[in-house]
């Protein structure tokens, strides 16, 4: 099966290779042939959520072209996959692009969603000795509708002592530009999230969206808390 990786700009620009590398290696372990279209950039969400829809359309058209020959597009992010799924709405009055956007939408998946729903994998043979909890990101669960897949996979990670995060459905306070436009509110939200994570007595916080992890992890770091933040791809690639 041929899979094109949509890395996302955070995994590309901000974070080191690990998240993308783990994603590629897991997919290959399950027989996928992974390519990385080099011209890919960002899903356009910063502009879209800020109301710059003309600009978003330019970005969307570019991404649609980048992935036009892909069989499947898989991304280590629930939120960015949600944004790809949003593309058809951008082109309501442009049938030609709407059609192309639909095609991209139908072949785009978040990593755990792809593993569980498309490849039918429940156990990735990973191993990680740690006490951990998992942050369910809002866009991935509520908008993309992926709730069970990460749990299914994490349950089978050997050595992982898992505690469910209390109030897991609550937002961490990232919200893209919200995190810099509404700093005082964002601060309260992320504090509350870090408190809930601490309450689980976990050493590792796992998440499937680097935006949330950058926010929560940045706050944990600032507060000097001994909690490590890992992307779910890194956990599933630990052995």
């Amino acid at each position: 099966m041929k899979v094109s990786l949509f890395l996302t700009c955070l995994a590309d620009v901000v974070y080191p290779a690990s998240v993308g590398k783990s994603t590629v290696e897991i997919l290959e372990r399950f027989g996928c042939e992974v390519d990385f279209p080099k011209k890919q950039t960002c899903c356009g969400q910063p502009a879209f959520n800020s109301g710059y829809h003309r600009e978003t359309k330019d970005v969307a058209k570019h991404m649609i072209n980048v992935f036009k020959d892909a069989e499947y597009v898989v991304s280590p992010s629930g939120s960015c996959t949600t944004m790809l799924h949003e593309y058809p709405h951008l082109f309501e009055d442009d049938p030609e692009w709407k059609q192309k956007a639909e095609e991209l939408k139908n072949k785009s998946f978040e990593l755990t969603q792809f593993l569980v729903d498309v490849l039918n994998v429940k156990d990735v043979n990973a191993k990680l000795n740690a006490k951990a909890t998992y942050h369910t990101s809002c866009h991935m669960t509520r908008l993309l509708g992926v709730t069970e897949a990460p749990m299914t996979l994490l349950k089978n990670v050997e050595g992982l002592q898992f505690t469910e995060l209390p109030h897991k459905e609550q937002c961490c306070g990232f919200g893209g530009t919200f995190s810099v436009k509404m700093v005082p509110i964002s601060e309260q939200m992320v504090n509350e999230k870090v408190q809930h994570i601490e309450d689980t007595d976990s050493e590792v916080l796992i998440g499937a969206d680097l935006g949330c992890l950058m926010n929560i992890g940045g706050r944990i770091n600032r507060q000097g808390k001994p909690i490590k933040v890992m992307h779910i791809a890194e956990v599933l690639n630990s052995r």
Binding site: C42, A47, N49, G51, D58, H62, M189, R219
Partner: protein, 476 residues
């Protein structure tokens, strides 16, 4: 009270909210309790999603045929001996209400809970002609006693207050001597209000839904005060937002079931009252005169726009009860009698973007609100739509942001620029790095690093692109 509750700047209000420990505790506790009950009560209904679809359909159908149903309502109200008045503005509504009250020489007015009368500042209008207007909903009465403290929630107006604060208000204003036990305080309020009920010459109520087919109005309460307000005074005035209408009793049944569950987590509230016109000959109680005031006040200009779904709202506050932003800043921070997600959507529509420019941004777009809304209003999408309107139609976006977004879009749609940017960014940020993290960034990054660290940007051999390329070449 008007929609706007004060003139303070948004961020000043937010700071005050965040620093008000009492309020935050009260709000967090109430949110947890009410939303917990909501979840329990909807699970007993069966397929909640099907109920939501049905409710959405009812509301959409009604809005699409609003003219027809309002006309039918008017006809039936008049047929049953009532009077109906369509007010385009708050002023028109208040003029009409003042005239009715003056024509009765009434001085004492008893009110049951109504957001739309808050919206049009009806109390102030009546006070200006010398009337004594008494709120009979317990929460509203507390706020009224407390020097007209604004409501912070559309269902539980005094949500921001804890018991002790309420006890203090009772003591200061009415000489209450007992404890902060809720039953004791409720009993006290009941005794105090009893006299007002008996003396009132006019009763004024809100309206959860009017029923077009019979010209009736319905009221959903837990305290029974609406029944008192509609049986004792000789004259009844009911004020409703023009969209609060259902075609028949059948739809009313569906929406009331969903309202009670979504608002307070009950299968049914203690009282659901249906009233049709003034009392008939031979009836023991009920008003001799019935007036229905239908208020537009900016609603009709929302019809037919991309924001029409906002008018589907049945004011259950479920969106407010799950909103994390509301939890931390409280209702007063919104500066409006309509707080929370629905407030952030509605205020710029009833008012304008100059007045309410921050509210559409006071959301992470986490969509918890959209998820719980019983009538499926896509609240978070409407917030994005407001942002788009401000940027694209009104030119209200800050210049620096416009520039940044243009630059972003240019880079994100041209890979060579994007790649060049991602290669140079780490060296620009380099000087700010400290042990792998940026703790005090420059320019806009500073806003991020004010409260949290930013990972140092990946560069060279650490980057995914480098790894993937080398691997292609046989390295690893």
């Amino acid at each position: 009270m008007a929609i706007k509750t004060g003139d303070e700047n948004f961020f000043t209000r937010v700071d005050k909210g965040i620093n008000n420990e009492f309020m935050r505790k009260a709000v967090a506790t109430a949110q947890g309790r009410i939303d917990g009950r909501r979840r329990d009560s909807i699970s007993s209904l069966g397929d909640w999603e099907e109920w939501r679809n049905h409710a959405e359909e009812i509301r959409q159908h009604t809005l699409e045929n609003l003219d027809f149903y309002l006309e039918q309502l008017a006809e039936n109200v008049e047929k049953r001996g009532g009077k109906i008045f369509f007010a385009e503005t708050a002023e028109e509504a208040n003029e009409y209400i003042k005239n009715v009250v003056s024509s009765k020489n009434a001085k004492k007015i008893i009110k049951s809970k109504s957001m739309v009368t808050e919206e049009i500042s009806m109390n102030q209008a009546l006070e200006s002609i010398g009337c004594d207007v008494v709120e009979s909903d317990l929460g509203e009465w507390i706020l009224q006693l407390d020097d007209h403290d604004p409501p912070s929630h559309i269902v539980v107006p005094a949500l921001h207050k804890n018991r002790e604060q309420i006890r203090e208000t009772f003591e200061d204003k009415r000489g209450y001597k007992k404890t902060s036990n809720p039953e004791e305080m409720a009993l006290f309020a009941r005794e105090q209000l009893r006299k007002d009920f008996l003396e009132a010459e006019v009763g004024i109520t809100g309206c959860n839904f009017a029923v077009a087919e019979s010209g009736s109005i319905s009221l959903v309460t837990n305290e029974g005060n609406a029944r008192m307000a509609t049986t004792i005074p000789k004259t009844q005035i009911t004020v409703m937002g023009m969209e609060r209408i259902v075609p028949t009793w059948e739809e009313l049944d569906v929406l009331v079931s969903m309202l009670a569950r979504s608002a307070v987590g009950q299968k049914l509230t203690s009282y659901v009252t249906g009233l049709t016109g003034p009392k008939d000959e031979g009836d023991v109680d009920g008003p001799e005169e019935f007036h229905l005031v239908v208020v537009d006040n900016g609603r009709s200009k929302i019809l037919g726009t991309q924001f029409q779904s906002a008018l589907q709202c049945i004011r259950c506050a479920a969106c407010i009860n799950v909103c994390p932003v509301y939890r931390h800043i409280g209702g007063h921070s919104y500066g409006s009698i309509y707080p929370g997600p629905i407030g952030a959507v509605l205020n710029p529509l009833l008012g304008d973007y100059d007045e309410w420019k921050e509210l559409p941004y006071a959301s992470t777009l986490c969509s918890a609100c959209t998820d719980v809304c019983p009538v499926k209003i896509p609240l978070h999408n409407l917030l994005i739509e407001h942002r788009r309107m401000m940027v694209e139609q009104e030119g209200k976006a800050p210049f620096a942001e416009k520039l940044a977004m243009k630059g972003y879009a240019f880079a994100a749609s041209s890979p060579s620029i994007y790649n060049m940017g991602t290669k140079t960014a780490p060296s620009v940020m380099g000087p700010y790095s400290n042990n792998g993290f940026i703790t005090n960034g420059p320019g806009p990054v500073k806003l991020w690093t004010d409260i949290r660290d930013l990972p140092e940007l990946s560069k060279g051999k650490d980057k995914f692109r480098t790894w993937f390329e080398n691997r292609d070449k046989g390295g690893n």
